[in-house]
Homo-oligomer: 492 residues x 2
């Protein structure tokens, strides 16, 4: 027995033990190596960064992986459906939106959003910012830059926040030149997540909350919530303000706006006092199951990836459907095709209702104009205007909250259903106003079947605006860039 | 080295091995014991069961756990909200439904569903089945029994299916006496899951599918889909038929009904040709994420439970919220409170839209009646009637598919949104018809604030119906039970 244990059983035991120990050694080495590599990145930074460094390229050498993936936001391709970095002309695809925004700059020009990389290019190029010829010229103020660049916190520090909001948009053309990037979400000196814009901090404060106490996981959404939210420009100060004081649902914010008698514009056709929803993506996501379960924006839009020994966040912020293996499938076991179709199905159900609302609500605005033209009184139209305001707020809220039909499918469907409800109530009310004035026939409808026709109908001279913009892009904009380069605001 | 291995290392190794082997032995014994106990249940059945055994009590001795839990369907308590086995009077709570069903038996009496245990009691007691005084008397046919009892497959075999459907309801009063139970879903001789009703098998066949090829997991839903589906009584034959030939969505089935020009009734007020949705729970569940992921009805409504060495399905079919630890939490890690609130939130969003539809659709039916009364023509009303049919089909489909707002929240919200859309289109169209006839004022609305007032408005004499029903329950129904007992149709 002893002899046999020695001769082969003992040796077997010995070899097995060696084998197991060896495997553990390999694993331990692998872990140590990863840690070492990660530590070496942070301990051997090549560039010393101080202050609010707004030039994204300054971070390139220290954080090559994050920088390179961030730079990929220049690629807006989506599953081969869209070509490279081209945007979709939404007004061309859905001309009713021109009618809905009559009296507001969005009726002029509205393209599908491209990557963060184009934030500054695109705001310079859109007709919405006009064609200023001098620093004091043009329709917009600097608050319009607020979400477009890490140059904004730098300029806010330099000018003071109050002065920043009051400055004209064109006055900062040579300063705001780097697109949304590193310093928007990170403290440049240590790369901690940070809130760089005051509006979110203030909104928390007004609700008795201290954003400094947010957890890291919360911060992985809150850095996005600096911009991907509903906001408005407050009174004379033009301060960017979140209407969250009464809560963050579509009804909560409407109560806030109603309580201060706010409207972004008076509708050019119906005269309804319209609230333009911005992009309440964060608020809508809070009402969906992913948000409710604590999934952060970054979990899906900046998914983790491994390269060599380093695990890092992929900064190519895009649709998670472009990387299902690293997004959905981290938690869900279904196939890519199944998961993708689950998303598409949610979108299709929401789009069905959205299309109905856009058709009916555009009709309602046109019918309201007809009623005014026929001599309807303020008293007769009061309820109509209220319903149109409510309907349009709900429609815009649902449509502008990018990804809402996936982030919160039922809530988005509920909001759109309520929008259609208010819209149809408005149409019914207008029909009664018209009948009371003796007009019982259908209201004649203009041809708004294309973007150009709809824009002409609401009295826009787009060719003139385009010509001015082209001139601006050939003369003023290059001057801005030249000056920025001279002042060292741009690297490369 | 040799010596030491012998003296303590050898013994340690030996003891450790013994220990591990012992634990494995215990586990193996536990498994064997469970298997043995389960096997003993099936091998030592106390009662020999042959043919279609419709008496649930006949299964009591063989399958005491399943029988006892099934018997608990007599307890309809739901989280202390409802008291014991009492039902809620839905028409009392929502009198608009009386208007919506004007011209159909549901306007007389509609209680919230109770457990399977009460299926036969409740159908005898509802005003919808009238108060027949003889086997050939009364408003309903035997197809009305179809889903109520395992006596149905027995009688279908005895009479032939065609004859069964053509027999009057009262003629089978002494035969259909055991509530929904064992033989509805199980082959009585071996307890395999089975489809006992022909309509589901036929619906599969018409779509080129063989239900015999369904997997066990599919059968765990399909046995429920024998009854918890949309169906209609086909023409003269009164054959129970599922309108699935073009698909199972709300639009698919509408296209089917439209294609055969079917209506359950002509609305008493609006004259719209109405399709009464039954309870398309299965079809709606197919469109939700649980259904799409292959979760069966039984997974949540007959959850597994362990008693002693036996794991079995809890046959107390009820809301899964009454047993979250054995239903939701099998897959979901969240707390009971969180999961319950997730369900409630979905229900509240759907109920918000449902309430709007019921208010507006009831109004639309009343306005349509007003238009007819004022002399509207068939041509003027054609589009109104179509819209009312579409609106009501969608409303009823969403509301009648019990659990739909949880099973498929977005789909339910979509259907209700579309219902409201059609409803408001109908109201707008009626308003134009009325204006064309010179009526521009609001249509006067009757007081329908209670069930009694609404029922009186639509011309029902409920006190008379109640008196007749009471007499029926005191005279005819006891005779049925007496005869059933004499013929051995009931145990105990």
């Amino acid at each position: 027995m002893e002899k046999r244990l020695k001769s082969w059983q003992g040796w077997l035991l010995f070899l097995l033990t060696m084998g197991v120990v060896f495997v553990f050694g390999v694993l331990a080495a692998s872990i140590t190596e990863r840690r070492a590599e990660t530590a070496s990145i942070f301990n051997n930074r090549k560039t010393e960064i101080t202050g609010i460094e707004s030039r994204n390229e300054a971070f390139k050498d220290n954080y090559p992986r994050e920088y390179e993936t961030w730079r990929q936001t220049s690629d807006t391709s989506f599953q081969s459906l869209f070509n490279g970095n081209r945007a979709v002309d939404v007004l061309e695809a859905r001309p009713n939106m021109v009618i809905l925004w009559a009296g507001y700059a969005f009726a002029k020009d509205y393209l599908s959003p491209r990557g963060h990389f184009y934030a500054v290019d695109d705001i310079r190029a859109t007709l919405r910012t006009g064609a200023p010829t001098s620093p004091d010229d043009g329709p917009q103020f600097a608050n319009c830059w607020t979400c477009k660049s890490p140059d904004v916190p730098r300029m806010m520090q330099e000018l003071g926040v109050e002065t920043f909001y009051r400055t004209k948009w064109a006055a900062l053309g040579a300063e705001v030149v780097n697109p949304i990037g590193c310093a928007d979400c990170h403290e440049p000196t240590n790369m901690n997540l940070q809130i760089s814009r005051p509006a979110l901090i203030e909104a928390f404060e007004r609700r008795g909350l201290d954003i400094a106490r947010a957890t890291h996981q919360e911060m992985r959404s809150l850095v996005c919530a600096q911009c991907h939210v509903e906001y408005y420009f407050k009174g004379e100060s033009r301060q960017v303000t979140f209407p969250w004081d009464k809560g963050t649902t579509v009804e909560d914010m409407e109560r806030y706006y109603d309580s201060i008698g706010f409207a972004d514009y008076t509708h050019k056709l119906s005269k309804a006092p319209i609230i333009k929803a911005q992009h309440p993506g964060y608020e809508v996501a809070l009402t969906g199951i992913h948000g409710q379960r604590g999934v952060s924006c970054a979990d899906c839009h900046l998914p983790y990836i491994s390269e060599g020994g380093v695990k890092f966040s992929d900064h190519h912020i895009q649709s998670p459907l472009n990387a299902i293996d690293r997004t959905c499938q981290v938690c869900h076991r279904e196939s890519e095709a199944t998961l993708r179709n689950n998303v598409y199905e949610r979108q299709q159900k929401a789009n069905e209702m959205r299309n109905r609302v856009e058709t009916e609500l555009a009709t309602a605005h046109i019918e309201a104009k007809f009623a005014w033209d026929k001599g309807a009184t303020e008293a007769q139209m009061k309820n109509v205007l209220k319903l149109l305001r409510q309907a349009q707020w709900r429609w815009d809220f649902a449509v502008a909250s990018h990804g809402g039909s996936f982030h919160a499918p039922q809530e988005t469907q509920r909001i759109l259903g309520n929008s259609l409800d208010k819209t149809m109530q408005a149409r019914l009310a207008i029909s009664k106003v018209l009948a009371a004035m003796g007009h019982i026939d259908n209201v004649p409808m203009p041809d708004i079947s294309t973007k150009a026709k709809a824009q002409k109908y609401i009295g826009l001279d787009i060719p003139a605006e385009k010509a001015a913009k082209e001139k601006f892009l050939k003369t003023v904009a290059p001057e801005w860039l030249k000056k920025a380069r001279e002042n060292g605001r741009i690297i490369g």
